[in-house]
Symmetry: C2
Subunit: 338 residues, 2 copies
């Protein structure tokens, strides 16, 4: 089937990854329209050996989204809210990377390995892509949850600069140069120096002391996994890594599970690469996971502080599975299953 696709936010870190992921996919794409901010108007990019049409701005042509199958949107929650009607007005399915609609009851929140069939329940023709930290975690939780329902999750994240977009990665690079050359330290995108530091604060604070980033992991996990009683307590930390997120995760299941059973379930699970050997380099690291598709799992152990607990380490590329790849996989799932 020949597809007509638009990317909104085409010049951003995730937008650029959409071009990579779509280009490498086996989707037949007949038409690709790119949209972006005034700053990126007119830019063109390489795509499948040719050059894309020029980046357009939103709001100029009411028919700009007519005749499309999918609109991939990654330009912030404000743009998603403002233009959702425009994106879907011509019949396209909007796959939205922002947090704008994730918790809306009439918008499914989809990770194909977990709840792909929810992608068909789209009264508003909008599907939300979960937050990056949630996506990789639920891919890893799902095979355990199928062995025995998970009741609690404790997770500490190690989140890469890419989560703050292309400008986040550029600022980390600039900071590392300043650190090495003993120059002035640029601090604009992050609230503090990230180079050789950690910032335990992502997104804004909520009334209970958790950040919005941490509450996304709490609420989105329940929705994706259809598990209202699965409680997540997260601590989200920005680390000086470029583009793959890591997570130290403890789960408590209703029945006790042994490590071998869990390891086998990970090995057989879609989207997961098991990398779990008790030896140097026998575990996933963010540098190795960068620019690759899978969710990597390792360091699987019995929880020494909980007889019904398992803990493990989980790494995935934030821009790919954490954003662009998952969105494209949602479209792929719809095409494969309808």
């Amino acid at each position: 089937m020949a597809l007509k696709i638009a990317i909104v936010g085409a010049s951003g870190a995730v937008g650029q990854e959409f071009l990579q992921v779509l280009g490498a996919s086996n989707l037949q794409i007949d038409e690709l329209r790119l949209f972006g901010s005034e700053r990126s108007r007119g830019r063109q990019y390489a795509f499948r050996g040719t050059t894309t049409e020029k980046v357009r701005c939103l709001g100029e042509d009411p028919h700009a989204f007519d005749g499309l199958d999918f609109v991939f949107v990654s330009a912030g929650a404000g743009v998603s809210k403002q233009y959702a009607d425009l994106f879907t007005s011509g019949g396209a399915v909007m796959i939205d990377n922002s947090s704008a609609f994730r918790m809306d009851n009439d918008v499914p929140l989809v990770v194909p390995e977990v709840n792909g069939s929810d992608a068909f329940n789209t009264p508003r023709n909008i599907i939300a892509n979960p937050n990056c930290t949630t996506i990789q975690m639920v891919v890893a939780l799902e095979p355990i949850h199928r062995l025995s329902p998970i009741c609690r999750v404790h997770v500490a994240t190690y989140q890469a600069a890419s989560g703050a977009g292309a400008s986040g990665m550029m600022e980390l690079e600039a900071q590392l140069r300043a650190f090495v050359n003993k120059g002035d330290m640029p601090v604009e995108k992050f609230v503090a120096q990230l180079a050789c530091n950690l910032i335990p604060h992502i997104d804004t604070f909520t009334d209970n002391g958790y950040t919005r980033e941490e509450m996304k992991m709490h609420f989105e996990t329940k929705k994706i996994m259809h598990a209202p009683d699965l409680e997540v307590s997260a601590t989200c930390v920005r680390v000086p890594v470029m583009r793959a997120h890591s997570e130290a995760i403890w789960v408590e299941t209703e029945e006790a599970l042994d490590v071998e059973t869990v390891r086998k379930a990970f090995a057989d699970a879609p989207g997961i690469v098991l990398h779990d050997l008790p030896e140097p380099l026998g575990y996933p690291m963010p540098l190795d996971a960068s620019q690759t598709d899978p969710v990597y799992v390792g360091r699987i152990r019995a929880d020494l502080a909980n007889p019904r607990g398992i803990n493990f380490w989980c790494v995935a590329d934030q821009i790919r599975k954490g954003a662009a790849l998952n969105a494209v996989q949602i479209a792929q799932y719809i095409l494969d299953h309808r």
Copy 2:
């Protein structure tokens, strides 16, 4: 009281910090003998406005440790085991920074804020300094444990390069230079590139899949806190930070505690600086904690996945409170309380 003190491993990262911490303390030090490896033989260092005597090597003079009050040892477990009898033969108390004797029943493992009085129970004249990750954690656990006994701890660490010694910090710096200048990446001290990466593996692996570093947190915490039923499950991760360790900690107590009560207990606890505001920079970060004494605590929240749980974020300088400072505080405690 005028003291005679020796430092073994004087040229290492911790040894150098001993000179700083002892120099800044109000201990009256009449004599300071320095010992090190063949490589550092003859070196001299600045100390309280003068120059130390030359670094000597071990094993050459059987009376080298006669007449001392304290011998601070930080030269690896092998040196501690081989020379413990020599260090204590002249009546000195050996305060050992290595893991050699930590779990021996006749060697107390001491963090003054938690179990200072154990420092007087020294049949072998040896006191062990706990592992850096354990020290900062138990300082933070103790005020909660006094409100209601802690039964479980889940902890994810973010450990600085300094934990691998001065050569670890130098390798991280060299790696950052290589990253910025696109040069050859030196990887000798760590098992992989640490710059812009994370290594979820510190010390060797044990049979249960945990690393020795993780099991130190498990066993040492029980011993220091006199809490054999307090179970700790740790994931220890090396991060590209220079010299302060951070920890995301979840505790479960026997009785439910509210966040305000815990916050007040932290504020009143010795050795802790509370830094807990729901706003940008309202939390401790390792860059700020570097080269300072306290254990910093922030991000205190009710555990959303456990009605009897509290979670928080804890940062301390690894070389100072995690090593040299705690050892000097043990000596200070003995002098103040005997």
